[in-house]
Symmetry: C3
Subunit: 330 residues, 3 copies
């Protein structure tokens, strides 16, 4: 696969000419109207969880392929469950093990899958831009959802985080949000920053050692802190990132223990934030590395709530892309 | 994971305060009323197999996770099929390959899965007590079914065996049941002995070399035989155990061939039993090791019938745990 | 597993005494009436793809096992999707990884699966005759579909090819069809030749180097060409075979590049054929080995169409075998 260009123009392909959601590739290229529509639709789906029958027939007879070029049991499962709750036919393909290793190109594989009258591809890929490349090359009737591509983007994670914040805090314009940790390798952080900006968040801070910050991060409109105590002071929301050990080739941090000493969130540091501050983490948590167990399991933590919201947000994105919003069917 | 205590008190957590089945972790802690309710409910499901549409909507919209920490294609498939016939949404996770190897703890994984609004976890684990540990740590709305944990318990297997015996023999109080083989490593045997005792079986015998018997097995109320000819004499039911080759580290038996000579069930030995004796085996069969092909495929064998009954019993347990019995819905 | 005999008598087991389709094991043993019934039924299913809800309830409550003894993500996925669109309960088992490696025989595995009240086994196996062996040994209520067995047969592929030809060409008796490539290792080619003969195709040609032709291929009623230019001249249909690299032990071809020079289909050679000739390939395509990209992606190529038709044909075969044709239900 040729490494595609990830440009800002191209991402506008996410919306149809009349402004409806077609693909979800990255937060950039969306607008606040679409963002709120997704969050509102997710709100309507989140009540399903309290019903005895946790299922709606919105996507019955739709065919959705979960295409995983990179392992992620958790993300794959979440999308699979979201699809099943929408009554879609879900097929999961581990494409590392598929005919791509019989010499077939990625495009041939995609063309084959769309010839089976698919409606949606959910794509997880280790290369930045992969989902966008696929969206540019599929038939017009197919929607593509990016379930994480390289260091680029993980938009459903950012959306579920926004959903979680909105549930607790309503007005984004008054919020101080601190994102702490490995910004450099984090597709989650990139997507969060774009979403927070789009929602006019009062202040977005990134807190990290210099070695874990991308160059020119200030251009994204964030305030940079290298000291966590200063970074979380008076914050309304603290988003801890996962230390991507498996992505960290070379010695960007001295040791996990020292990382925790310098950048881990413990109870003392949490007290520096607003006393109603939320503590967020995309999971899976490295306990004692990014965050102490007392904080991860404490009353301000929204970590498990985020998982629940992830289902509602994914159901919202899948149904909106396929033209069925939660409120209007059946 | 801390190795939990497997105590007799704790297993009463299987029942709700008003005596309904909540979890199925082991036969101990159940009572004869529940046992009969499971078998009666299974009876109502066993007729589904003769219908053209082998499906009932009892668990529609329920989310059931098949959590396999140990491989078992057959058991996983049986539960998956039972769940699909109840119209549940089934998700299978091989947790050896999952985020537990990203450093996440077992409890974090479980918490994540229950945050997706699961209704049931079916757990297969190589450690004794794992299912019980999980049941003690899940949210109140989740049911846990033990699909085999270490050497401890395999309650659905024991229940399907009781179902099979009841189909042929009605009154347990008059029966002589001989369990033959590797009692030491067998979670199946432990569960069978408890179930047979609970159903007031006339006599329960265990037949095995000393090396394949746990210490103080007599305390479970069984008669011990080291000679198979004596052990199967006049028996009404002969349950052959699988020789767990993969569990047998070290030389507990001299050779497979010698094992067959001393403990295998052949036609001559079968003639020593009651002439209507049932021959049972949990599968998969090691032909010529535990049992000769002539006996395994003979008219007294219930081996394949047990597989069929396994589906009905699992459907019964799943629906009872989730509060829906076979007879009363739709 | 004992290697079964693959004889012409045995394949008549595919039809019930009153001539209905029971198993699909190979094209031999079918007749033109059945062939046309399958193609007509597929026609009725192919319109489903244009519907918003791509699903019919024909096989609701049926249990279908996808039994793969050999990897084939693409074929497995196609059958799984076909089954889901018919509303069947689909279970996929990778039998390389299953209890067959716990020492259980193939027949024991099959007996277990049919004891779960299965309705259909879809079988992919590396040994010729495996599907037939299984069909001879299953219970009377079970249908078996051959999804490819060794070098023997791949009947659903041949049927979808016939469906594709019929869509474009109507009358088979006037057609010249050239099959080009590795005839020797191709179960697809064998099945295609039998199907084309059964449909009274005007002329069937095989085009291959001597090393890639089976002995006595002329006995199947085909004309043999060793020169591709002569072989495709005036052809109405050119079927390119996949070069089965993974099956080609030893040096039957000098190099991929030389193979393309001598037997690859390029635009110059395509011009020798009828100007409305179809270019077919079962996929996955080795671009630049069997076929140039310009031809594979050109206007005469039906490669992706074949994939779409594969779904309709598999739905037709599955529903006919289980006694439900597309037109008569609901």
């Amino acid at each position: 696969m040729t490494r595609p260009q990830v440009g800002s123009l191209a991402v506008n392909q996410q919306l149809t000419p009349d402004g409806k959601l077609k693909h979800l590739l990255s937060i950039e290229g969306l607008n606040i109207g679409i963002l709120n529509e997704i969050l509102d639709t997710a709100e309507s789906f989140s009540s399903i969880a309290n019903q005895s029958v946790k299922k709606v027939p919105l996507l019955r007879g739709k065919t959705i392929f979960n295409l995983f070029f990179e392992d992620s049991t958790r993300t794959r499962t979440t999308f699979e469950l979201a699809g099943k709750r929408l009554s879609a036919d879900m097929l999961s393909m581990n494409l590392k093990a598929s005919s791509t290793n019989k010499g077939e190109t990625l495009l041939d594989t995609l063309n084959n899958l769309q010839a089976m009258y698919s409606d949606m591809f959910i794509v997880r890929h280790q290369d930045s831009g992969a989902a966008q490349f696929i969206a540019q090359n599929v038939a017009p009737h197919i929607s593509v959802i990016n379930a994480g591509d390289g260091r680029h983007s993980h938009p459903t994670q950012a959306l579920l985080d926004m959903f979680t914040i909105r549930r607790h805090k309503q007005d984004f314009t008054r919020l101080r949000v601190a994102i702490v940790g490995d910004i450099l390798h984090s597709r989650v952080a990139r997507s969060q920053i774009h979403a927070l900006n789009m929602l006019n968040t009062g202040e977005v801070r990134v807190v990290a050692p210099r070695t874990l910050l991308p160059a020119a991060i200030e251009n994204l409109g964030v305030n940079v802190y290298h000291d966590i105590d200063a970074g979380v002071k008076d914050a309304d929301v603290i988003i801890m990132l996962r230390l991507q050990k498996e992505r960290m080739h070379g010695a960007l941090i001295p040791s996990e223990n020292e990382y925790f000493q310098r950048y881990g969130l413990n109870q003392r540091r949490l007290k520096l934030a607003d006393k109603k501050a939320l503590v967020m983490h995309p999971g899976p948590v490295n306990r004692g590395v990014e965050i102490s167990s007392a904080v991860a399991d404490g009353p301000q933590s929204t970590i498990l709530e985020q998982v629940s919201h992830g289902l509602a947000v994914r159901m919202a994105v899948m149904s909106l892309c396929l033209g069925s919003s939660g409120g209007q069917n059946e």
